[in-house]
């Protein structure tokens, strides 16, 4: 996504090395994706669903979205 848009920066964060970040973002399982400190996506999702959730607050104000139970 970062590669497709210069407005997007993507960090792959090794959670065990940076417990401060893991705590700050309440990382209880991986992968966990945090977008602009607003959207949290836990687990892997199909591409369409992932992008829809990741971009959700960029078009409307939604606080936190979680994926359906897998």
């Amino acid at each position: 996504m970062a590669f497709a848009n210069p407005n997007i920066t993507a960090f792959a964060v090794e959670a065990t090395e940076f417990p401060d970040l893991a705590r700050k973002y309440h990382v209880s399982g991986v992968p966990k994706t945090v977008v602009n400190d607003e959207v949290e996506i836990l687990g892997g999702l199909p591409q369409d669903a992932f992008i829809q959730q990741a971009l959700s607050t960029l078009t409307s104000q939604v606080s936190t979205l979680t994926p359906p139970e897998s």
């Binding site: 997007i8 960090f11 964060v13 090794e14 065990t16 090395e17 591409q47 960029l58």
Partner: protein
Amino acid sequence: MPLLSPADQDKLRESFAEMTRSVRLLFFTQTLDCETCPETRQILDELPALSDRVAVEDVNFVLDKDKAQQYAIDRVPAIAVLGLDESSQVHDSRIRFLGAPAGYEFISLVQAILLVGGRESILTEENRQRVAAVDKPVTMQVFTTPT
């Protein structure tokens, strides 16, 4: 003793051979107080040997604060993935890795190198357009563990 087995080296050599653009990995590191910097160094050192299109450039995180700021790096070890065009102009992919790229993270790093190196994106055309339409700054953090 290399970290990558001869078989893995061959596989990577084969994948990297398809790259059409060169990639530079900016490695932000520091000598003291960085437990996984030596491990990251060891992992990264194995890559340029596998392809002329992959280079690693060290950035001293303590001394080169400007560069760290330019690439939004606030901790080490960190890697910024940069692409180089035909005229050696640098293009920042804005893909970063924080922490040693071991285990699954190594696979992600290889994928990032291949993408920036010219491989086609896995995004569908529809999703590519959705992503391209984002017109404000977005920071995505993907938390992972090595296993």
